[in-house]
Subunit: 153 residues, 2 copies
Amino acid sequence: MLRISKLTDYGTVVLASLVDRKDEVSSAAEIAARTGVAPPTVSKLLKLLAKAKLVSSTRGANGGYRLTRAPEDISAADIVDALEGPVSITECSASDSHCAYEENCDTGDAWQRINRAIRSALEDVSLRDLAKGTCTAPKMHFGGTPITIERTN
Amino acid sequence: MLRISKLTDYGTVVLASLVDRKDEVSSAAEIAARTGVAPPTVSKLLKLLAKAKLVSSTRGANGGYRLTRAPEDISAADIVDALEGPVSITECSASDSHCAYEENCDTGDAWQRINRAIRSALEDVSLRDLAKGTCTAPKMHFGGTPITIERTN
DNA sequence: CCCAAATAGGACTAAACTAGTCCTAAATAG
DNA sequence: CTATTTAGGACTAGTTTAGTCCTATTTGGG
C-alpha cells in the first residue's frame, strides 16, 4: 500500500550522494557513476530537484550540482514534493481539486487527518537520516543485473 | 504524493454504505445503486473485501453482503491492506523483498520509521470516522459525467 | 424439482501513468 | 572557439490500474 515511486527512491540515492560534498559540484555523469543509477535518469532527477531548489546547478564546463541546504534541513517531504508533486492521499483532499459535494462532506476530514499525519512523518525525517546508509534503491536491477550502490560514508 | 488508488477510495464508499445496515444484507447491485459506483466495480471490490474478511457474503437468492465487525473496529489500514495489499512505502521496506545490501543498510531504518508512522495514522481512523460523510469518491466522473453519491445518513 | 437471484473466481481489455531515453539549445571555462 | 555541462522538453516503451465480462456455484422460492 502507498508506495513512493522508484524515481523518488532514486532521488534520495542521488541526494544522499551529495551529502558529504557540500563544497564541490558533481556532474550528473559523476553522480550516475557513483550511484549506479542510469545517467539519463540521474539527469532528469537533478533537473527536477533543481527546479524545486533542493540542489543548485552550475552550467558549463566543470559545472554540476550541489545541495542548496544542509542535509538536516532537507526533509523527506521536500524530496517527495519535488519528485511527485504535492498530490494528496485522496483526490478529494488534494489542494486543487474540488468535489461537488464539498459543502456537506465530513469524510474529507478523516482522510485529511491521515494526510497530515503522513506529512508530518515525512517532515520529521531529514536527508541526513536517509543518507545514513544508501540501500534505498537496491532491490532494483538495471537491465536484469543487480546494480551496485557505493556507500559514501 | 503518495496516493491511495481509486479502487481503495471507492472501497471506503462501498463500506460506508454498509455501516448503518448491520442486520440486513445488501446485494452488490443495491450497493452500486446506492453509491453510484459502477456495478462490476462494486462487485469486484466486495469480493476483495470478503476475502479480507471485512464483509461476509451470503450466496444465493436474497444473498448479499454485510460488515463482519462494528464500523469502529475496521480501520483505514484494514481497508488499504485489503485492497492494495500490505505493500510498503519503499520496495526495500516491504516484508517480502530483500535487498542485496541489507546487512549493512541503515537507511531502511529511516524509511521504516516513516512507514510505521503512516500505518499508525491509518490505524487510528475507523470506518465509522470515514463514514461520517461520503464524499470520498466525488471528484470522480463516470463516462465524463459527474456521479451522484447518495448520503446514507 | 426447477428457475431466478446472487456470489465466486478469474480472464480479459483499455486507459492511464511511470520510467527511461534522446535531442536540441544555452551557458561557461579554458 | 571548442569542449563540457546543464535546461528543457518531446517521445517511447513498459507496467500498473481500472473496469468489464463470462462461467460456475449456491440457495431461496414457486
